[in-house]
């Protein structure tokens, strides 16, 4: 065969195109079909959308970078299911935007933490001062969350975006009901209240059901 590769080696534009073609094969075969598979696009039947309070807690979770130390993804390995609970399936996370799977476990996985026999009281004390309860812990303390009230100004918009852009099945009445609570019983909720509500909601969709 003639020295055809010289053609590629001497033409950087062509080389870039061919490299892109070469590396796209993996994604084309492994990722693209997932966009059309039921298992990855359909929620499990017990999934319910976050309440406004849980959504606010989720925002705090993201803002404080909890996902940097905590995963929300139990893999199908015995050691993990023994410790954390049932392994995570894709249908649990179809309404997660962005998903919070994380990639590093400095602390334990939290995908099922709402199912663990841990009291709300413990969560609060632990967030204020982890080392008061777990002396070995290197988790940062978040004492200000108990004093900061939730900033509700963007919540109506957030819920609308989740409804309209992300296809989360909030009905208009749902959003109204949530916003009524935001104006009522949750008006003075602290960020700690919201975060703890979010933590306690994690895993609830899998309380009884195994897919």
């Amino acid at each position: 065969m003639a020295n055809h590769h010289a053609v590629i080696e001497k033409n950087i534009g062509l080389m870039i195109v061919l490299i892109l073609v070469a590396v796209s094969f993996g994604g084309l075969a492994e990722i693209v079909p997932l966009f059309w598979q039921k298992a990855t696009t359909e929620p499990i039947s017990t999934l319910r959308p976050y309440s406004a309070l849980e959504m606010a807690g989720r925002d705090v979770y993201i803002r404080e970078g909890c996902h940097v130390c905590h995963t929300q993804m139990v893999r199908p390995l015995r050691a993990e299911t023994e410790r954390f609970g049932d392994y995570t399936v894709a249908g649990e996370d179809v309404w997660e935007h962005p998903f919070l799977w994380g990639s590093k476990r400095t602390g334990p996985d939290l995908d099922r933490v709402g199912l663990r026999p841990i009291t709300e009281q413990w969560h609060r004390e632990h967030l204020r001062d982890p080392r008061a309860l777990v002396p070995e812990s290197n988790m940062p303390a978040y004492p200000w969350l108990q004093h900061a009230t939730v900033d509700w100004s963007t919540m109506a918009r957030t819920l609308k975006v989740f409804q309209q852009q992300f296809g989360v099945p909030y009905s208009d009445q749902d959003i109204e009901a949530q916003m009524a609570k935001v104006g009522g019983e949750w008006a003075d909720a602290t960020e700690e209240d919201a975060l703890v509500a979010y933590l306690l909601s994690l895993g609830q969709a899998r309380r009884e059901q195994r897919p």
Partner: protein, 300 residues
């Protein structure tokens, strides 16, 4: 997976392999003119690039990777809907792993279940198995050394809120506990001074020496008759009531702290401490081993 996507994936995977093989073999052969010359004709600062074929072993490695992928695709999932001859999936692997471990551990747990907690605690296995169960389920509240934290009782001492018998411990773990004391400020007189008097009285029960100070002695004297409202739960002698989980106030062991402020807070605001039930998360056999582990912690 639909026919279309299955075919789509198979097509890409096969195309990829064939393409790799083609590139490899197409580049093996050299033109006669290339074969003749010793160099590629490239020259940098007078340094000539030699023209050598790939070493054979290197080539065979390439071929080996191609063969490997073919064998892999026959045995494991990779070609669309075809699941591979081994029928492997990450879920089936997990199920096998769980079944395998259960097969090893079930007989052990069954054996343990037959031994009464009062004997089981001395088995070395109890320390291993129970210790792991404890680390996983209980350490976050009671501490990895089981010595507790403020509001979470120490399980290694001989001081029990609900009793240290095997039965009481098992009940605590399985069904949970909820220790409640209502706010008592009003009942002791309502004023800050009255609360302080009562706190000093409670403190003096385990540290009589503080009464050496005359002003403390006066406080204690004022509070003593009012302790009647506490006695309903903590007992006339203040030695507690295990049916209610009301702590013994005379032993110097404190659940919510030994400082005067801690005791005042308890009296003013009351307390509500929950030990969650573990019945739904741990099997009866595991609860048995855990109870034996906890029982053993305070045995000499």
């Amino acid at each position: 997976m639909s026919d279309f996507w299955s075919f789509y994936i198979i097509a890409i995977v096969v195309l990829n392999l064939v393409g790799c093989a083609f590139l490899l073999f197409a580049n093996l052969r050299m033109t006669p003119e290339e074969t003749r010359s010793e160099t590629t004709g490239h020259s940098f600062d007078g340094i000539q690039e030699r023209n050598q074929p790939l070493p054979r072993w290197w080539l065979y490695l390439f071929v080996l990777t191609l063969l490997f992928s073919v064998v892999y695709l026959v045995l494991y999932p990779g070609l669309g809907r075809f699941g591979g001859l081994l029928n492997w999936s990450s879920v089936s692997q997990w199920q096998e792993e769980v079944a395998w471990v259960n097969k090893q551990t079930e007989p052990l747990f069954e054996q343990f279940a037959k031994v009464p907690i009062e004997e089981l605690h001395a088995y070395p296995e109890t320390r291993d198995v129970g210790g792991r169960l404890f680390a996983n389920n209980c350490a976050l509240c009671h501490g990895s050394d089981a010595r507790g934290a403020k509001g979470y009782p120490n399980l290694t001492d001989d001081d029990w809120l609900y009793g240290g018998s095997a039965e009481a411990i098992l009940t605590s773990i399985r069904d949970g506990r909820h220790g409640q004391m209502p706010p008592m400020a009003a009942a002791v007189g309502g004023t800050d001074q009255a609360v302080r008097d009562m706190a000093l009285y409670v403190q003096s029960l385990s540290r009589p020496a503080i009464k050496d100070k005359p002003e403390v002695a006066a406080s204690v004297e004022r509070a003593a008759p009012r302790f009647a409202v506490c006695a309903a739960c903590h007992g006339q002698d203040a030695r507690g009531n295990q049916a209610l989980g009301a702590p013994n106030l005379t032993d110097g062991v404190w659940l919510h702290g030994a400082r005067l402020e801690d005791i005042e807070t308890t009296i003013r605001e009351g307390r509500s401490s929950r030990m969650p039930p573990h019945e739904s998360v741990l099997s009866e056999e595991r609860l048995h081993v855990l109870a034996a582990y906890v029982y053993g912690l305070s045995q000499p």
